[in-house]
């Protein structure tokens, strides 16, 4: 029997099958939201991926044009809902650039602390759901358990767990709670061993490595040409982080490393590298947090908040290193209280555009592994 099959294969030089189109999504657990991928398959090999977006499109940019500058902040929360603090952070410093105001040192420190806590929280979701996509459910639960602790810190500060409206133009809405610094230090102490635990559980797991190493390799020059930023670009071995390369706020005062992908399990720029960069980044964020919590000065957090935000005629492009990459705001002011145009350069949107390049030639099952390693948030892709 076996012999006849082998004979058959030999007599047919190529086993070309018909091309087939397969729809993945919009309701597919691995797309982390509503994204439809149109896969052009030949057998089980992916020849082309066409993402179809827009299922969550709310036209944030149109909303922003009829709001005053401070009223836009809650809308920015709802773009990248896993990193709301950082969206506000980016928007606030862009408008401050337009207004040409300087905020008190304490505010800058609070923003950095919130931003880095948010980065850890966001990476925890990215790593946990990535494990879940590939079939490891336990790390997902562990990650969410730890993320809850960060969300509780946010709740203590501003009353909200997900959508904060905390970082305002010129300041922050509330000063830190008297217990905050103690609890944040406790969290750092608690979280360090959890990273090791996650490494044991998932990072060095044989099955996980088999599924992710050498899958979806992204060379650095392709990444730059596609505008890919954040952990994805660093996973490709490029040392590029806006906190270091174009410092904003008080990031130039802290000592931290920029981890890059080294191809430890396969090739530089594969899915495992992108995953591991996020793990290392959480440790760097802990370092920044420790320094910021130790150095934070006293001061008034609301002294620089303008009574009325009415910037002069002009335009500005401000950018920050969001957990997913370069988050840019291009704001045009016509001198009124409403922005004339707000364009958001969303990191997920740009990172997702490289999907076709990554998936070509891989199996269908690898599409899930690649999509998870990009770490998209559909609220931000569609805005």
């Amino acid at each position: 029997m076996i012999n006849t099959i082998e004979k058959n294969i030999e007599t047919q030089p190529s086993l070309n099958t018909e091309e087939m189109i397969l729809n993945m999504g919009p309701q597919h657990p691995s797309t982390h939201g509503v994204l439809r991928l149109e896969l052009l398959l030949e057998g089980e090999i992916v020849k082309k991926v066409t993402p179809h977006l827009g299922y969550l499109h709310r036209c944030f940019e149109k909303h922003a044009e009829v709001m005053t500058y401070p009223q836009v902040i809650p809308y920015t929360d709802r773009m990248d809902y896993l990193a709301s603090m950082y969206n506000e952070f980016g928007y606030a410093i862009t408008v401050e650039k337009l207004l040409d105001i300087k905020v008190p040192e304490r505010v800058e420190y609070i923003r950095v602390i919130m931003g880095e806590l948010q980065r850890i929280a966001s990476h925890l979701v990215a790593l946990g759901t990535y494990g879940a996509d590939i079939g490891a459910m336990t790390p997902f639960l562990f990650c969410f358990r730890d993320r809850e602790k960060i969300l509780s810190l946010f709740e203590l500060t501003c009353g909200a767990r997900l959508l904060y409206n905390y970082i305002w133009v010129g300041g922050v809405s509330h000063d830190l709670h008297p217990d905050f610094i103690r609890l944040a230090k406790e969290f750092i102490h608690y979280f360090r061993p959890k990273v090791v635990e996650l490494n044991d559980l998932l990072t060095n797991n044989k099955i996980f490595i088999e599924r992710t190493a050498n899958v979806g390799i992204l060379p650095a020059d392709v990444a730059i040409n596609y505008g890919v930023t954040g952990p994805m670009l660093r996973g490709s071995g490029m040392k590029w982080d806006l906190r270091r390369n174009d410092p904003y706020s008080v990031y130039d005062k802290f000592d931290f490393n920029i981890p890059v992908g080294e191809g430890l399990m396969g090739t530089v720029g594969d899915s495992w590298d992108r995953y591991y960069v996020r793990i290392l980044e959480m440790e760097e964020s802990l370092k920044i947090l420790e320094q910021a919590l130790a150095q934070i000065p006293e001061g008034d957090v609301s002294s620089a908040i303008p009574k009325r935000v009415k910037p002069p005629v002009g335009e500005v492009y401000g950018r920050v290193e969001n957990p997913r990459g370069e988050l840019g705001y291009y704001i045009i002011s016509d001198g009124s209280v409403n922005p004339f145009r707000v364009k958001v350069r969303a990191p997920s949107f740009v990172n997702l555009s490289v999907m076709n390049e990554l998936c070509k030639g891989h199996m269908v099952a690898d599409v899930v592994a690649i999509l998870g390693s990009i770490d998209i948030v559909l609220g931000e892709v569609d805005r």
């Binding site: 827009g54 036209c59 149109k62 337009l98 505008g227 005629v313 002009g314 145009r341 364009k343 805005r383």
Partner: protein, 176 residues
């Protein structure tokens, strides 16, 4: 590392009158205005020249300048005729650590700009977005379809300043 002024002079030398002006005011980051039908060539030069090496397109945005003639309608909305739309390019060199901003202006009635999606692949989706939301037509774009709005949206381009919401979309009431 070069300033916008040095880059402007270099471009002016190479493309002479197709590079229109360098604008810099106190509250505006300086930008270079380029002819929309030569932007592709200019971008190739900016990317590939050894002294410039603009290998990264940070952002590409379409803008409705709303500087035409505004006519109020009976229902309170406005219609704009004439004037310009523009596209703004924020470029950066990760090698030489400098940045520059380019702008093109195109007439509102027939907005045509050369696509730069083969210079930076990143521009592909940004240009689709500008086409979708503002209605700028990118020449030689490989796949100019709507990206955020439904493919069969017939009511125009929502980020135009005189956009009116349609009453129905496939028989469904829009302002529900």
């Amino acid at each position: 590392m070069k300033t916008s002024e040095e880059i402007y002079n270099l471009l002016k030398e190479k493309f002479n009158n197709k590079i229109i002006e360098l604008t810099s005011a106190a509250s505006v980051e300086p930008f270079i205005v380029v002819d929309p039908l030569i932007i592709h060539e200019v971008c190739f030069y900016l990317r590939d020249d050894n002294d410039l090496q603009f290998n990264s397109l940070m952002n590409l945005s379409g803008v409705d300048n709303a500087n035409g003639e505004k006519k109020p309608e009976v229902d309170g909305s406005i219609t704009i005729s004439g004037g310009t739309l523009s596209v703004v390019y924020h470029l950066e060199s990760t090698e030489l650590k400098h940045k520059v901003i380019l702008k093109v202006f195109t007439p509102r009635e027939n907005p045509e700009v050369q696509s730069v999606s083969d210079v930076w692949r990143c521009a592909d989706w940004h240009e689709r977005e500008a086409y979708d939301l503002i209605g700028i037509n990118f020449l030689n774009h490989p796949d100019l379809r709507r990206i955020l709005m439904p493919y069969d949206w017939e009511a125009g381009h929502p980020l135009r300043k005189d956009y009116k919401n349609p009453e129905f979309y496939h028989g469904m009431k829009v302002p529900y």
